[in-house]
């Protein structure tokens, strides 16, 4: 492994790790706020218990999100100093606003987690909402920074010097809206199905309905609605990519040859040597239609991109397929849930349905990771699209390979501990509800 590859892998690992905690940190506050709201309105103890149970789990995720995020703000410089030297002043606007959002979030979190019975109930509830709103804003802001890497604007390069810098224009680059919208929906999908899946699993194991059913109602309903919406936003993202990054789109679709009536390629094994795709389902004109709304318009293929400016095709294509397939899976399960709720259908409580829900638990996050691989690997070999190559940005310090292994070790241990703690939290919750059961009935 050379240092560049190690640096890329370390970045991918760190971001891929952080995004899980970031999603939970953005969305769970809203779930808690809903449950908390119902408790305050109806006085039903079970909702208070649910809110507290969730907040205990979330505290673990928050700290992990916070430390992994802190690492990222250093890693950008540790790994890509030449990029940050130029990029920092240009795409810094969202980061400086994000700093504020994080700070507010950390403050509100202190109030929320430690404020039970200390403050007026509605003030306490409000601090929970602030946690969610500031988390979501910070997510949107940081995605705007990433969008700028895909669609650099807000500066000119004159004689190799970055001048006429306009941080505001850089923040509102062409890609920020499509990416931020898609990311927010994705966070709702991923967190909704993950949380719902865990509660479905516990319910299936015969644990108390009291708490798990309301938990599922909140998380799955929101997750399912987001799953209905996300294909639209994804479609919009894809059109956006087609305009701003034709190479990425071509890699996503494994579309090698520039042609009219471009086919939509589903599945298949792309062969970059011979520029063909084997074993794929091809829908004639499908790609042209999806991008331009008619079946004939020409779509740029990889053959028109210089060889040294093409992203790796296979990884991007597979990841894109995984994301879309997952979207379809979650869409179907989500529909089943929504219809079942609406009609009060019996299958909602059946073992097979609960098993299904438990099985799709990780899929939202799989789609999130796959989607980020599409965005980031699809941008290669550029770190700043069309302007700076990743290879030119990497730190001159040798031995990044060791750093990669170190980080891998850290993230694996953190993931393991967080997993174990979560299981223990759930068990403790179970013991708690089981003990209280006789008194309640």
């Amino acid at each position: 492994m050379d240092d560049l590859l190690a640096a890329r892998l370390q970045m991918a690992l760190s971001l891929g790790f952080h995004i899980i905690f970031a999603c939970i940190g953005m969305i769970m506050p809203f779930f808690m706020a809903i449950s908390h709201y119902i408790y305050l309105k109806t006085g039903k103890q079970v909702y208070k218990k649910l809110t507290i149970a969730w907040s205990k789990g979330v505290a673990i995720f928050f700290v992990t999100g916070a430390v992994s995020g802190t690492m990222l703000s250093f890693e950008l410089g540790l790994l890509w100093p030449k990029f940050m030297e130029e990029a920092g002043p240009i795409f810094g606007m969202p980061f400086s606003l994000e700093g504020t959002a994080f700070f507010i979030e950390a403050i509100a979190l202190g109030f929320f987690l430690y404020g039970w019975d200390k403050f007026k109930p509605w003030f306490h509830w409000f601090t929970g909402v602030v946690v969610g709103v500031s988390g979501l804003s910070s997510g949107i802001l940081v995605v705007a920074a990433n969008a700028w890497m895909n669609s650099p604007t807000g500066f000119d390069i004159i004689d190799g010097v970055y001048t006429n810098i306009d941080p505001i224009a850089a923040m509102f680059n062409d890609a920020w809206f499509s990416q931020a919208l898609h990311m927010v929906l994705a966070a709702f999908v991923a967190t909704g199905f993950a949380v719902g899946g865990i509660h479905a699993w516990l319910l299936r194991q015969g644990k108390s309905k009291e708490i798990h059913l309301p938990a599922m109602r909140i998380s799955l309903t929101i997750g399912a609605v987001a799953a209905l919406l996300i294909p639209f936003s994804g479609h919009y993202s894809a059109q956006d990519v087609a305009h701003r990054q034709p190479a990425k789109l071509a890699a996503m679709e494994a579309h090698f040859h520039t042609e009219e009536r471009a086919a939509l390629i589903i599945g298949g094994i792309p062969d970059e040597e011979s520029e063909t795709v084997n074993f794929a389902i091809k829908i004639p004109g499908g790609l042209s239609y999806l991008i331009y709304g008619d079946f004939v318009t020409e779509v740029t293929g990889l053959e028109d991109i210089p060889k040294d400016e093409r992203p790796p095709v296979a990884i991007v294509h597979y990841s894109f397929q995984i994301m879309v397939a997952t979207a379809m899976l979650l869409l179907s399960v989500g529909l089943l849930w929504l219809v079942g709720q609406w009609r009060s259908a019996a299958y909602i409580h059946s073992r097979w349905f609960l098993t299904l829900l438990a099985m799709v638990c990780p899929f939202g996050f799989i789609a999130v990771e796959a989607g980020w691989v599409v965005t980031e690997v699809g941008r290669q070999p550029w770190i700043l699209y069309g302007i700076m190559k990743t290879a030119d940005a990497v730190t001159p310090m040798p031995g990044i390979v060791y750093s990669f292994w170190l980080y891998l070790g850290i993230y694996l241990s953190l993931a393991m501990i967080v997993g174990v703690l979560l299981v223990r939290q759930v068990r403790a919750l179970e013991k708690d509800t089981d003990e209280k059961q006789p008194q309640m009935s």
Partner: protein
């Protein structure tokens, strides 16, 4: 606007040293507490810093963001030449934050707790140590931008007596701040007495460690003392810090917690000011030159945007932070 950004940069560094430092210090105190009292210290620490610890560490994020947006050359130079100590600092920060929360939220209270505890205390020691090492290296002139070998470029700058002495000095400051802070949080007369003793001991340690910094500087030929003495304001700050020393002791012994805290904070601020000001307008000193904030500053448009963002941010952050600290104060 550049002045505003610079002011926020120094403010966030100072706040991180004071609040983040007291936070690290709580772990350092735990490290140096006899076993039979550890449990009480732990409980007190959790009560005192639980709600605000995350906010305390946000100052670091603000400082870093200001650096990479407003002063990218400083950020990248540190990132390149001090890659290894920065990574070690990160390791400490991660280990500490997670161990602190995990030990509280793990329902299992068996052996694993001991593991969390030892991770917490050792990383509480190591993080400020590396923070100080970084600060020491940056002002030492040990970084050689032209170095060609790995050892000269990436190891030599920070592996030295002077950086190490600044590291230990930082650790002592953190422990001192924490002890003074925790006295006010303690419930019983007995706990207060323990922390008072610790505070005084830590204070002596800080003074000694400060002396060692000067000795180390002298041995390595770093003109630290000369820089301080050439500068009227630096001398003044040091004199003020020295005068406040006996005052702090007096407040500590008289049980005036708030005043003692203010005094301790004041001392540390003065020391930091004296140090920064003595090399002003430089902020980094290399083997073959210096870098000032002005030289490293990004363009005007960026500085304006950053300054406005910081001003807007502080309108939200400062009142809510004060309210948070106030709300979770004891009594």
């Amino acid at each position: 606007m550049v002045e505003i950004v610079v002011a926020f940069l120094y403010l966030s560094i100072l706040m991180y040293l004071l609040f983040g430092g007291a936070d690290f210090g709580a772990g350092i105190i735990e490290l140096f507490t006899s076993n039979d009292k550890k449990d009480r210290t732990r409980q007190l620490t959790y009560q005192a810093i639980g709600p605000i610890w995350e906010a305390n560490h946000m100052w670091l994020i603000i400082a870093i963001v200001i650096l990479f947006v407003g002063f990218p050359t400083i950020y990248t130079t540190v990132s390149i030449f001090l890659h290894i100590p920065v990574s070690l600092l990160l390791l400490g920060i991660i280990a500490r934050g997670t161990a602190f929360i995990f030990r509280h939220y793990d329902p299992e209270k068996g052996k694993i707790q001991e593991l969390y505890n030892s991770i917490f205390v050792y990383s509480s020691f190591l993080s400020p140590l590396f923070l100080g090492i970084l600060a020491g290296t940056v002002i030492s002139g040990r970084i050689d931008r032209e170095a060609s070998s790995f050892v000269d470029a990436y190891l030599y700058p920070w592996l030295g007596l002077f950086p190490l002495s600044v590291g230990l000095f930082t650790v002592a400051i953190c422990g001192y701040l924490a002890a003074v802070f925790l006295i006010g949080e303690a419930d019983s007369e007995e706990d207060q007495k323990t922390f008072r003793k610790k505070a005084i001991r830590m204070n002596i340690l800080t003074v000694v460690a400060g002396g060692v910094v000067f000795v180390a500087a002298y041995m390595e030929g770093i003109p630290l003392l000369e820089g301080l003495l050439e500068n009227t304001l630096s001398i003044l700050a040091l004199i003020l810090a020295s005068i406040s020393l006996p005052l702090t002791w007096k407040f500590l012994l008289k049980n005036l917690h708030i005043l003692a805290r203010i005094m301790a904070g004041f001392q540390v601020s003065m020391i930091l000011f004296a140090l920064f000001y003595s090399i002003h307008p430089s902020i980094m000193i290399f083997k073959d030159g210096t870098m000032s904030l002005n030289e490293a500053a990004a363009g005007l448009a960026t500085m304006n945007a950053l300054g406005i963002a910081l001003l807007i941010g502080s309108v939200f952050i400062i009142p809510s932070l004060i309210y948070l600290i106030y709300s979770f104060q004891k009594r």
